[in-house]
Symmetry: C2
Subunit: 233 residues, 2 copies
DNA sequence: ATTATACATTTTGTATACTGAAAAGCCCAG
DNA sequence: CTGGGCTTTTCAGTATACAAAATGTATAAT
């Protein structure tokens, strides 16, 4: 049916689902596929030069993650950002910042500190380059590495999920600074690293909370700006 | 093709995946399928009188939940209970007990109290009947209802997941009391309800923590008993 | 006897084909 | 026009068919 799409002859077995899953996931989180976009299985299938079967398995996974909504027997679409539950989101992510950072201070092993430091330097680079997308992903990796060091997979899973869900919001955050976040962010990261390294649990907690609060406040400010339109009455 | 498999003529379309998913999920959590059991797609397919396609979609979902592990191009099996991470589990579930109960005290609406009360009375009935399985599920519903009243879907999702993961452990807990949990459990539930109703956040937190601690301590006691064998040296 | 290699079997991943449910189009009566 | 019932079309859900891994087995070579 489709003589085009010849490009990829390398057909390694077992990577179809992953390919579809990864692609869709990043496109959804990057807002390339905005919330509400319908997802056409057939179209996707020939875009990826796959059949519908692996696509559907990928969609099943995404549905479990809540990234897509699927109406029975009818179309499936990218799920909406739940702006009504933003307070819940902020509450949860703040708690996860705190808990994971605390636990990191308590449970880290030498390897963890290396990983954290690496991600922090990548983050600095991204900031230096004013590359918002890179900032978001390196920031995520930075905090994910801290969570890993805390060694509680349940917290890590929730935290990572929140960070990913928040990618759509975080983009707003960085845009608000014109892709130049306040230098304080880097310092805050450094302070957190220091507190973790010193195994100072209380300080880690406090700094993590401050860090979270800073981000949350900024986003709230943004959103409230958006909401307040000066309408003449 | 297949003249046998007559049993289920009611072939409502769109319920195949759900059927497979629900069945596997409960069997895994009930330990009917013990950790490590291999899962044979073909066998499952004819057991449910379905083709492999819906089975595989169900498996994809379960894999996302971490209930099954799947090696690429190799067999898939029921994932193990991660006994190494039991401390992490206890830590997380205790925190979720606290947070959800706090939030419930803060955010409940009249409907919520009804739901909670209903589940509590169902739980009492289960206790009266010495029905461990019913206790586990009604207890889950009770705490899930509290979490719902807290209105933070992120916490609720994690908490419910922890409670479900813990079904395998909770069975141990109730068995330890010979399916007659200490009457204190019911009283603790009642106290929690009272604190929530009174919108007493601090008390809710304290009681939830005490409740969690009680369960955790009991399970820890059980596990340590198991480990200590009196070997003569 | 042990290892290596070829063949067969099992099983997973993917493609294609079929079916039915719901939306969209259509027709005609009011 | 307009809205209720009918037909058509479309697409989600399922079944089946096929292909590539991986594993097991038997036989040959050392």
């Amino acid at each position: 049916m489709n003589d085009i799409a010849v490009a990829a002859p390398e057909r390694k077995r077992g990577f179809g689902v992953k390919k579809a899953y990864d692609l869709l996931r990043t496109e959804i989180l990057d807002l390339t596929l905005p919330p509400g976009s319908p997802i056409d299985e057939v179209q996707l299938a020939d875009r990826l030069a796959l059949s519908r079967t692996p696509i559907r398995e990928a969609l099943a996974r995404l549905a479990m993650e809540g990234l897509i909504d699927t109406l029975p027997n009818r179309s499936t679409m990218v799920s909406n950002i739940d702006f009504l539950n933003l307070p819940a989101y902020f509450d949860a992510i703040t708690l996860m910042y705190r808990v994971t950072t605390r636990l990191a201070a308590q449970n880290w092993r030498p390897d963890d500190l290396d990983a954290i430091a690496t991600h922090q330097s990548e983050f600095s680079t991204a900031v230096a380059n004013h590359d918002a997308l890179a900032m978001i992903s390196t920031n995520r990796e930075f905090h994910a590495a801290i969570a890993e060091a805390g060694r509680n997979p349940y917290y890590t899973a929730l935290f990572v999920r929140l960070l990913d869900d928040g990618r759509r919001l975080l983009r707003l955050y960085y845009q608000s600074f014109n892709d130049r976040p306040p230098p304080s962010v880097i310092d805050e990261h450094e302070d957190i690293i220091a507190a973790i390294t010193a195994r100072d649990i209380e300080a880690s907690d406090r700094l993590a909370k401050a860090h979270a609060d800073q981000i949350v406040r900024q986003i709230q400010k943004l959103l409230s700006w958006d909401q307040r339109q000066n309408i003449e009455l």
